[in-house]
Symmetry: C2
Subunit: 311 residues, 2 copies
């Protein structure tokens, strides 16, 4: 297999703005050339500035670990109390020096305070919040419905860049546990989470957790730093030895970081005709590599493009 073909060896997943070429079928001379469907990559390459949005700096976290920076977009719309609590905890530097304490294969990484005997005190931040497992549907909340059936929710789609489920009968909507989504770890009591302990999905989407725990954000950059962490050898993937944990240097709000230190990102809007076309390009992939288009797109298989921009 030569290198050019190797580049297409399995298929092409576009993330973080990488662009790839799909070969277009060549028509015989005597027949009108088929209209080539634009691929996901081609559509993205032809996007306009209005197809993208900047992150809300008050709801963007920079988690700096030795391996690099993990950037999390927090959803103030779906988890307002948790978003506010995380802002409070971040501003009192609660997370600085805490650790990534768990990495369970095909599931999650989790970070927070590893010290049970002498837990770090909170000042403005709270250690317990009312659950924000779902919220009511609001016409002011954007929602781009996906066309296909989903097993875990009557409707699924995207809301301001976040994957969501919806039940019109109960008038409830909720964030969905796709890869990279971030939630508030909790015990049995539904008020036992607060955002002081967080997890990110690093494997196949555990959609059965939807509506059972407060999801509050999404990793928009740096996911490989989390997903490649060695798995913990303890039960549930907890690290058994303190030296195995990854120390968090700091968590800061992008709004509080000097402009020169910011990572300027844009994420694809999910309420545009382009986004609808991107979804369709994923539902039915053209080109020469695919032999059988799926005719279906699953919520957590929709790729959400992120790109770096000049400040």
């Amino acid at each position: 297999m030569n290198w050019a073909n190797r580049m297409k060896a399995i298929s092409i997943a576009v993330a973080a703005g990488l662009s790839c070429m799909h070969a277009v079928a060549q028509a015989p001379v005597s027949v009108s050339p088929p209209v080539a469907k634009p691929s996901y990559s081609e559509l993205l390459a032809a996007s306009k500035p209005g197809d993208w949005r900047a992150l809300d700096l008050e709801n963007t976290l920079y988690m700096d670990i030795p391996q690099g920076r993990v950037i999390i977009e927090v959803s103030a719309a779906y988890a307002p109390a948790h978003a506010a609590n995380i802002r409070a905890l971040v501003r009192e530097k609660y997370f600085d020096g805490l650790t990534i304490l768990r990495s369970q294969d095909n599931y999650v990484v989790q970070w927070g305070d590893p010290d049970e005997k002498n837990p770090r005190a909170m000042k403005q931040g709270k250690s317990s919040l009312a659950p924000e497992f779902t919220r009511s549907i609001d016409d002011k909340l954007p929602f781009t419905k996906l066309p296909d059936v989903d097993g875990y929710a009557p409707e699924v789609g995207f809301s301001n860049g976040f994957p969501v489920g919806r039940n019109p009968k109960t008038n409830q909507t909720w964030l969905a546990h796709c890869y990279g989504m971030v939630g508030a770890g909790r015990d049995n009591a539904d008020t036992s989470g607060s955002g002081a302990e967080l997890y990110a999905v690093t494997g196949h989407a555990p959609r059965h957790l939807d509506r059972n725990i407060t999801l509050l954000g999404r990793v928009v950059q740096g996911m490989p730093l989390l997903s490649s962490l060695p798995r913990g050898t303890g039960n549930l993937g907890f690290y058994e030895k303190p030296e195995q944990r990854v120390t968090i240097k700091s968590v800061r709000l992008a709004a509080d970081v000097p402009t020169a230190e910011r990572t300027n990102l844009e994420v694809i809007r999910t309420d545009t005709p382009l986004f609808t076309s991107l979804v369709e390009a994923l539902r039915n992939r053209g080109g020469t590599w695919y032999k059988v288009p799926a005719g279906h797109i699953e919520l957590c298989n929709v790729m959400l493009a992120v790109r770096a921009v000049r400040p």
Copy 2:
């Protein structure tokens, strides 16, 4: 959060035989105690020997890399020609000294011959095979259907421990791209794969690849060794520098390995009443942590237990 509760901090995923406890609801004195539904872990702990099966040593690969051993069960039923070709390649030591050359986040790791200019010659093994993307449904092929709808296939379920899709109308069935599944990398031509270059799914199941490429096996042990590999910085996650690639010490068939060096595993059978109960326990999780049972199980969220046994 104390350590006992931390152990249940998000939820409990049982893999490789880890057992976990779910708290059972306490009923008030004046009402008959509810019948506690057994949890996935409790069901597994109560399994009988007949609920498990040994691996077929002629179709079990040991891929030994510096980080440890990756064990792959190959499906001779769904990919007989590829299984035979892999046996041939393994027996001529084709893979020994080749490398893991790609790790793309939320997608795959891939391994094979990195040398384009001087590719390793094959003796008995072939570099090209007819595609085995699907096969015909055969009553002799075991199939345990899952009860719920799937977006990518009219029916889904398990066949001898492998996740499969089925279309009764076309009489076709195929392996599904769940986490840990292994396939034969190929170029655009559907005959360009052969098993000489393999990949394993390390992220959210890319079900859109089903029926488009030959899946041929499943990682039954050692997945963390692959999923935690640093992601490649090149396009599609290819490692840009030779020193970043992971050298494969050897790939051997379990049948050819001296008994003392074997890793003796059993995997849960998928054609038993216990398996049906395990699936139901995942569809509707009881206990005190879950507040809303999903009432649904997705093919790739079914956990397939593996355990070590004495030889």
